[in-house]
Symmetry: D2
Subunit: 248 residues, 4 copies
């Protein structure tokens, strides 16, 4: 038995990739491709059980209100979810308790696992640093993911009552030791040919542990979205972040 899926933003860059991925999956059936001028009623008419929403902040709230009130589960990668917006979605879900909504800022499973494992590992190692690598067109350094990873490591170290990482550096060129994110050094490499990669390194006596994530191209979110589509019905209510779907 297949799951009937509708794609919102189906002619967008990400949405079109998702529509193709649904078509390619044997256990999923693409029943509706909706873009900005289309009527959402097609979702109901075609029996969509789950929608994938990669649209724009202006559209996503209307989409979600429609889906939740019609009992259609939603997997959402659209950006712009303020705390206020999240609460609004939560209220719709509470009124329709059988429906599941998953909103995630990052659907790359390898990146989500890297952050989760880094938090788990942090308290066992004296040293922890993050090195991220991106294409040279990226505007911010470090990446949001790398900053978030470092913050998670720093929080785990604090909870465990750990002292600062050992570092005898007395003479340094400006910037050599990276950016300081809550005490965790973060280094950003910008490299032609690369896409998005993150490496977390932990060290203690005689050993290191390295967790590395490579996103080779812009389809790396696909497996995470499909995982969401397959499991959202089993997670009624609002879930923020892919983590809890990964059972971590």
């Amino acid at each position: 038995m297949t799951v009937k899926v509708g794609v919102l933003g189906a002619r967008g860059r990400v949405g079109s990739v998702m529509a193709q991925a649904v078509r390619d999956a044997e256990d999923l059936e693409l029943v509706a491709e909706v873009d900005h001028d289309d009527d959402l009623q097609v979702l109901v008419d075609n029996g969509a059980e789950v929608v994938i929403d990669f649209t724009v902040p202006d559209a996503v709230m209307g989409n979600l209100e429609f889906c939740v009130t019609h009992g259609i589960h939603a997997v959402v990668g659209t950006t712009g979810f303020t705390a206020e917006r999240v609460e609004k979605v939560r209220s719709w879900c509470e009124a329709n308790p059988a429906t599941g909504v998953l909103i995630a800022p990052n659907f790359a499973v390898s990146a989500v696992l890297t952050m989760a494992f880094a938090r788990q590992a942090a308290r066992f190692f004296d040293s922890a640093e993050v090195v991220e690598f991106h294409h040279p067109n990226k505007l911010d350094a470090p990446s949001g993911t790398a900053v978030h990873t470092a913050e998670g490591i720093a929080a785990a170290r604090r909870e465990a009552g750990m002292p600062p990482a050992p570092d005898a550096t007395a003479q340094a060129l400006d910037g050599a030791r990276g950016a300081d994110v809550d005490g965790v050094p973060v280094h950003a490499v910008r490299m032609q040919g690369m896409n998005a990669h993150e490496e977390v390194i932990f060290g203690s006596q005689g050993q290191t542990l390295t967790i590395r994530q490579d996103s080779y191209d812009r389809t790396s979110f696909v497996p995470g979205v499909l995982l969401g589509v397959r499991e959202v019905a089993a997670h009624p209510g609002l879930t923020v972040g892919l983590d809890s779907y990964l059972g971590l």
Copy 2:
């Protein structure tokens, strides 16, 4: 307040490193160094609360019976624990329920975490392979740790009902695709200059996750043993494997 620690096998290669590590730790006090001709009574006389046992199979059972019956916790890296021996130790622990014994085949925290994370990650990726790297004096290939890691990945894939990893190889030189451990390819590199290193690689659409562990020298078990010493009193009864001390 410090923990009073006795080291058994204190003049051995590993034991002497552990004795030094206890001396160097501010929260631990080395109260007894015992080797094969010494009387275990010194542990009681000097008030040892925890012993570290890196001795030999012939000595370890006598040591453990003495320690458990005297209420001294034990952290044990000695090899040779058959199922029968484990049951024997368990019976002593049941008769002395306040005493904790930790027996672990591998105290390298980075290696234990690598195996644990690999099991957690396995079900989210189409492909999984293990590459291990050791000094050229090693007799077996792949290493026991790499085989154990691959078995854990294979078990997690089976539980999740996953198909075999995709592999279109039609023409291969003998050995090119590694050893097959329950369907997971394992590759063993033997390299002058290296010590013991393991890399687990997972792949799905557009992305990979790599978990790598490097043991640079023979002191890499120290942090794990000290972790055991500090936490064994909070884990009464017999524990096999460092995993459960890591809260994974």
Copy 3:
């Protein structure tokens, strides 16, 4: 002053990428796009100084005879060059000594450099192994590039009179130690998400040297072809392999 470039096979998968790359390069001008039904005379009419040929074995010899006899330099990535064909091209070049032809099996500069550096480094290290990583649709294992790399290392070791790499392995699972290419172990990983990657590892006392090449996508041949286009006029006669253009 720009170089006038014609692309042969311009509507093919690779040719179309090359046509675009020429358009994007400020110092090059795309003056002709030729595919299988087109007349080569357009190259002369439009003043092409250099052609790029990514066509098929059936077409390439005719293309090259036309170009060389008309004094148009050629950069060729088409496959199927037997020794006999190479000699034929060489005879055309000898009759037109001012014209340059570059035929290369691999235009990925990073891969060509990896092979060249591996040959240079080989004689300084006791151990050498190759690990290659490809997408799981690849039919052969190891890759031709990895085999070629290992052969280069083996030749350099032989010339230096080196003994076999140290390896005490006594108990091994079948395949664990990789494929044996002239005494150099080669390991092939097949991984969803990856494209084409090669790692060469050398080890001696207390140290290793790793040379790694990553081809993230199918455009990785572009910089090498453009390098060829820019320098072919300075290399009259026939050149096989990109190496000599890299000054190695």
Copy 4:
């Protein structure tokens, strides 16, 4: 036939390792171990053909004058060679043209090759960055080797008339993009458990090339010194740097 070797500074930390390495080498014979109170005449009396000097700046000039004037070749890892000192040694060599002296700041062959290959590769890639990893007791960041590597890359880029590496970074945390060494970003990681490691990354369209050097322990200079001992007689006169012995 073996080469007769004397070790100066034979009871020092490095000298004692070298003395043992000479004893272990089948083609070398240790004929003299000299330390600061010993008479250099023992070198002549015991027929030393080559000396290894890992002493101190105060001693090395006297040692070299003695050796060169007595026709004993010298392989020197002692620090403190100013331009003036180098000229002094050169003048002694000119007066004794059959004698060879090799003075090198770095005898780790893997590090010397990394720098050499980085210079060779630099002009073929749009982007180049250096990441170095050291134990946390290191006082300076980045390491001298990493700075030297970056300077070599920068020089090669300048000679090739290359523009700055592409980097669209508009918003950055302080230090995120590393230290700027002649336009090449250098990132320094300080990690418990590590010793000394350097990674050079180059990128162009669709590909990267990574050259990585790992020094796992303090014996990593041994192979380079032994190489010097075996080849110094074939390099009469003064040579600074191991490079030219590597035929690069």
